[in-house]
């Protein structure tokens, strides 16, 4: 049986100064919006804000200078993203590119792909989406049926992706598609960089239960992708996708999605909280402190070149369970004048997070899939 070892991570000296710098920047540049808008954070977006972050050198921070990156440490990037999330900055447009597409292209991409795309990611000009799920393929990702057929000079893709977040704003999709029928289900999958403006590609937003459209259907009708846009190895898609998971599942966005409501709660509670409110504040603080230590522990392992994919699954399940429970607990203990009627900053934030929180334990790998991964590591399957 494998055991999980989460070890305390000490932030380097540089982190403190950088944090001040980021706060000063946010104080000046953060669009003045209502708390409920801030609560959207990495589900919201603002192209101009993304470019400003790029100009600050706060995108592609860990990537090499020769591709326009900044060669900063993982810890420094961590400081920047947690400050963005806590401030409720509209970081959703560049989020995927900065978090995983850039590192993926660096690791598996060709020299041409790196030179072409990483500088644009680092400038906040190229936004990415992840083409994984399909109508018949959600948690069972290996069953994808969208297929790329080899043609002269490239590939023709046919099929459909679904639940693709920010596809309507993205410049590129990194799509996982079938290029062959291997001996196992995990073989024969390949990742392609797809230019979202390509003929035959159609994006159709899907309204979620709040009426907003973050995710989309993406249709591929004989979409041509040149050979130069295949990432990594033909047939190596599964391995490449799983290598991204530790990045995707361990970050502070996996426990901070409801931080705006916590801060609003703290604000309305004021200096004389009731016994019930103190209890709730104390317990939520303890959760956040612990989750932050765990999330930083995974970051430390990533920085050391390890692949803490299962640790990341632990962080994501605990973190999303917390951020999902937070609005429910706050609702249960809110004072009688909290009516959930629109127009009040606290009520609006609570209302938004109550409704958006079901997605927290779905996006990026469902709770059940994560627990299955952990069970496997325990030697149960």
């Amino acid at each position: 049986m494998r055991k999980f070892h989460f070890t305390p991570f000490e932030m380097p000296e540089a982190a403190k100064a950088l944090r001040h710098e980021v706060r000063a920047f946010l104080h000046e540049e953060l669009p003045k919006t209502a708390p409920a808008t801030k609560a959207r954070s990495w589900s919201g977006g603002d192209a101009e804000f993304s470019r400003k972050l790029g100009a600050q050198g706060w995108l592609g921070m860990t990537l090499p200078r020769k591709y326009g990156g900044h060669e900063r440490s993982y810890a420094e990037r961590y400081v920047v993203i947690e400050e963005m999330l806590v401030a409720g900055a509209p970081v959703g447009l560049h989020w995927v590119a900065d978090r995983q597409s850039g590192p993926l292209i660096l690791r598996y991409g060709t020299e041409e792909q790196r030179e072409k795309l990483i500088p644009r990611i680092a400038r906040g000009e190229a936004f990415f989406c992840i083409g994984m799920s399909e109508p018949g393929s959600g948690s069972d990702l290996a069953s994808v049926r969208t297929r790329a057929r080899k043609v002269e000079g490239g590939w023709r893709i046919n099929g459909q992706k679904i639940w693709t977040s920010t596809a309507q704003h993205a410049h590129y999709m990194i799509a996982l598609v079938r290029t062959g029928d291997g001996e196992t289900r995990h073989a024969g999958l390949t990742q392609f960089l797809v230019d979202m403006r390509t003929d035959g590609l159609t994006v159709k937003p899907i309204a979620n239960l709040t009426g907003e459209s973050h995710f989309n259907e993406v249709f591929f009708d004989d979409v041509f992708v040149p050979d130069s846009m295949l990432i990594g190895n033909e047939g190596g898609g599964w391995q490449q996708v799983t290598a991204e998971l530790a990045f995707e599942r361990s970050g502070p966005e996996r426990y901070l999605s409801s931080i705006r409501l916590f801060l609003e709660f703290l604000r309305v509670v004021g200096e004389n909280p009731s016994e019930l409110e103190k209890q709730l504040l104390g317990r939520m603080t303890a959760e956040m402190w612990t989750l932050r230590q765990m999330s930083m522990s995974v970051m430390g392992k990533l920085a050391a070149g390890e692949d803490p994919a299962v640790d990341a699954a632990v962080v994501k399940d605990l973190g999303t369970s917390f951020e999902q429970e937070l609005p429910r607990l706050v609702q249960a203990s809110a004072r009688a004048d909290v009516t959930l009627e629109s127009g009040d900053p606290f009520d609006d934030t609570l209302s938004y997070l109550l409704q958006s929180s079901p997605s927290f334990s779905l996006r990026g790998g469902t709770r059940e899939i994560l627990r299955g991964i952990i069970a496997k590591e325990l030697g149960l399957r």
């Binding site: 932030m11 947690e82 317990r283």
Partner: protein
């Protein structure tokens, strides 16, 4: 891990593993011979000269093995006595986190409650209003009690007893909370091990329980809670090495109590009736896990303390305060 720390870990596992079924007297001799209570004591006094992170190795192992001796308490007592400049003579030493009474010169009149192994210890280290006192068990009138895990938690009454004492900057309840956090982490580790092992062997419907998704999903949660408690313990012991760890201890005890609450339920559920028997070893862990959630402060106690602190600082200071704990 450093070589010294590996050595400490190996010694601890060996000693605490060996004494599982030994008498208290024999156990304490092994513990003393190995110098385990001196992990924090400085090298000049024959101690290990370790950090709190080193101490966690021993404290966590006490939880893992459900050690029936006041070893975590002795580590703390030895450390506090040394910090106060009070010499301890040989013999079993324990602590008291619930002391009331008065010190008049070198005389103590008062009551020490909930003293772990009070009936067996030679000395008890307690704090009364910033003064550390070392009382001798021989001077006490003893009322025997026990916690749910049948660990001695005695009340000792003193009437003008001669005590060593000195001023010290310390707070006993948070220190006890820290110890229990470490023990909870160790006990959960072991409960997870037992649960995984049992469900892989126990067959029902023609296959091991471990192959059922319903069981797998529960054990994954048990593993997650164990990981959270382990993180809380590691980070709070590390904070002790930095200095002021009041915030971390509160947060860690809250989180590890919650982990223990969830995890004991799962561990018992997947063990079925077998885990409920006196014969099977799970209860050595779970009964302690129930006791330790109360000892050193329950969730209500620490929730109120931490909540009061956070509310007093306000919404604008919250995040900066939280990250400052690691920077």
């Amino acid at each position: 891990m450093s070589e010294l720390r590996t050595l400490l870990a190996d010694t601890t596992m060996k000693v605490l593993g060996d004494i599982r079924d030994a008498s208290l007297e024999a156990s304490w001799k092994r513990i003393t011979d190995a110098g385990l209570a001196n992990v924090l004591a400085n090298e000049d006094s024959g101690g290990f000269g370790g950090t709190w992170e080193d101490a966690l190795i021993v404290v966590k192992a006490c939880g893992h093995f459900a050690t029936s001796a006041p070893l975590p308490e002795a580590i703390l007592a030895t450390h506090l006595a040394q910090a106060a400049g009070v010499a301890l003579t040989d013999g079993m030493v324990t602590i008291c986190a619930n002391a009331t009474g008065k010190i008049d010169g070198t005389r103590f009149t008062g009551t020490l409650r909930g003293v772990p192994w009070g009936r067996n210890a030679s000395y008890i280290v307690a704090l009364i209003e910033g003064t550390l006192l070392v009382a001798s068990r021989a001077d006490a009138q003893i009322e025997e009690h026990q916690n749910p895990a049948a660990e001695p938690r005695d009340t000792l009454r003193f009437e003008g007893a001669k005590v060593e004492n000195a001023l010290v900057e310390a707070d006993m309840l948070p220190a006890l909370a820290l110890l229990r956090t470490g023990q909870i982490a160790g006990a959960l580790d072991h409960a997870l091990e037992l649960s995984v092992g049992y469900t892989r062997e126990r067959q029902q419907f023609g296959r091991p329980l471990a192959q059922f998704q319903a069981i797998q999903q529960q054990l994954a949660v048990l593993a997650e809670e164990t990981a959270a408690a382990g993180m809380a313990a590691a980070a709070s012991f590390k904070a002790m090495d930095r200095g002021d760890a009041g915030f971390e201890i509160a947060a860690a005890k809250l989180r590890s109590n919650r982990a223990a609450r969830t995890a004991t339920g799962i561990a018992h559920q997947v063990h079925g009736a077998m885990g409920f028997t006196a014969e099977y070893s799970l209860h050595h862990l779970t009964r302690r896990l129930w006791a330790w959630q109360t000892e050193g402060g329950n969730e209500r106690f620490w929730g109120e303390r931490l909540g009061t602190l956070v509310a007093a600082r306000g919404s604008k200071a919250f995040w900066g305060d939280l990250v400052a704990r690691n920077e």
